[in-house]
């Protein structure tokens, strides 16, 4: 129950719409980046030369030095915007947890996975970006050396599936929220989300295995 004690009405503004645009655009941009990033890194499966050549290209054109921090910025902005919807208060967390358990509803659970994975990704993604961007240039040998330390292997075994889940669900949810996934094509949307997540987790797993086996 709310009690209205003011005489005035708040001035209607457009900020909610702009923030929603920005949340969607940073999200969509990060989804595209994550999938591209995974494909580029997986070039190591084709050979060390392939990955190093790609890394050299991004280094020589300045894209790694400029693009890296920009992605970091988009990552933080996306977090700040999406956090407006995430329950940080314990009472809200209790409500949504009980609600999800009561409802047995896939899409409601997916949102909880998205919100929960976001917190881990915020921390681990930041560590990953800092580590890579403060030790440029990227090379297959350096990445392999990192993955061959068990602490880092464990780190990526957690980060990889969480990122791909978050990204896959985000892709589906943008489609739903903005009306691209409708009632008549929802089943297809769910299927694409599942397939994309599985494909990218698999590519990531193969890439990790390749790094582990690099001499």
């Amino acid at each position: 129950m709310t009690v209205d004690t003011t005489m005035h009405v708040s001035a209607p503004g457009r900020s909610a719409a702009y923030l929603d645009w920005l949340q969607m655009l940073t999200g969509a941009g990060l989804i595209l980046f994550m999938w591209t990033h995974m494909i580029l890194v997986s070039s190591v499966i084709l050979g060390v030369g392939a990955m190093d050549a790609l890394a050299y290209f991004f280094e020589a054109t300045g894209m790694a030095q400029v693009g890296g921090p920009l992605i970091g910025l988009a990552f933080l902005v996306h977090f700040a915007l999406a956090a407006r919807k995430v329950p940080f208060r314990v009472e809200q967390q209790k409500i949504i947890w009980k609600h999800a358990k009561m409802l047995h509803h896939r899409d409601t659970w997916l949102w909880l996975v998205q919100a929960g994975s976001a917190m881990v990704i915020l921390l681990m993604g930041s560590i990953h970006m800092w580590t890579v961007l403060t030790d440029l240039p990227i090379s297959a040998a350096k990445s392999a050396a990192r993955v061959q330390q068990w602490q880092w292997l464990l780190f990526y075994l957690v980060l990889l599936p969480l990122v791909e889940l978050h990204v896959g669900i985000g892709f589906y949810r943008i489609g739903v929220k903005w009306g691209f996934i409708r009632r008549d094509n929802r089943a297809k949307g769910v299927k694409s989300e599942k397939v994309l997540t599985i494909v990218f987790v698999s590519i990531g797993a193969l890439t990790l295995i390749r790094f582990l086996t690099l001499g």
Binding site: T2, R14, A17, H99, W111, F180, I181, R182
Partner: protein
């Protein structure tokens, strides 16, 4: 072989200081074509006359018998027990004010929602009772009717994670209500005026796309499509070249 059905039913009377929220168990023999409404009626007649639940039309039209059936909001009158397991748990709809046991007050919320979305045709045209009624093309009339089929049972609101966390969220019922006027050619409100009503986090931009509204609506209203339509419409209306 008819089953024996076990009903676990939430009991609490907020008017009675001695009442404590708890679950009561009732066992009832299943009969042919039994709906939850019929089962609840029999429990009240045969086992406990103090059991509170709402009903009116018994045909999925009035929306008063909405409750949480094994975790999912739905109508008691159009839920057949043969589609449910032998153990059935019934809870009142969350979000709304509890009247007692399975009965909740959805009316107060819906009335406030009407006021928020200004749920009436806004027009400067003066009504002339002597004139023949203005014609509307059939497609538009059907589209409006499709959204007007909402029976205000409150299932979509009770199933909405956002509404559960944020009580000021308009929810699918409120947004669908506004969409109905937005496509009505008689309503002269501008896009800007609609934006002022729902272009915020309590309105369309608060929707997180969890789709529980779409999945529980007993009337199968096209809620998912309406929410997507409204978000696009409202978000596009603020673009600089749209001013």
């Amino acid at each position: 072989m008819p089953r024996n059905l076990t009903f676990n039913i939430f009991r609490y009377n907020p008017q009675d200081p001695a009442s404590v929220p708890h679950m009561d168990t009732f066992v009832l023999g299943e009969t042919d074509s039994m709906t939850l409404f019929i089962a609840l009626g029999r429990i009240r007649e045969e086992q406990d006359p103090s059991l509170q639940f709402d009903f009116c039309c018994r045909a999925g039209v009035c929306g008063s018998c909405a409750m949480v059936i094994n975790g999912r909001p739905g109508l008691a009158c159009n839920t057949k027990v043969k589609d449910l397991p032998a153990e059935i748990t019934l809870l009142p709809l969350p979000f709304f004010k509890l009247v007692g046991d399975l009965s909740v007050d959805t009316g107060t919320w819906f009335r406030e929602m009407y006021q928020r979305v200004e749920s009436w045709v806004h027009t400067e045209r003066v009504f002339d009772p002597a004139q023949e009624e203005e014609r509307m093309d059939n497609d538009t009339a059907n589209r409006i009717y499709e959204l007007d089929r909402c029976i205000e049972c409150g299932c979509c609101i009770a199933a909405c994670g956002t509404a559960r966390m944020r009580k000021d969220f308009l929810g699918a019922a409120g947004l669908n209500r506004l969409a109905r006027f937005l496509i009505d050619p008689r309503d002269q409100r501008t896009e800007r005026e609609y934006f002022e009503l729902i272009g915020n986090d309590q309105g369309i931009f608060g929707c997180m796309g969890l789709l529980a509204c779409e999945d529980v609506c007993p009337k199968r209203l096209p809620l998912q499509d309406q929410l997507g339509f409204l978000r696009r419409k409202m978000a596009l209306s603020v673009l600089p070249w749209k001013k």
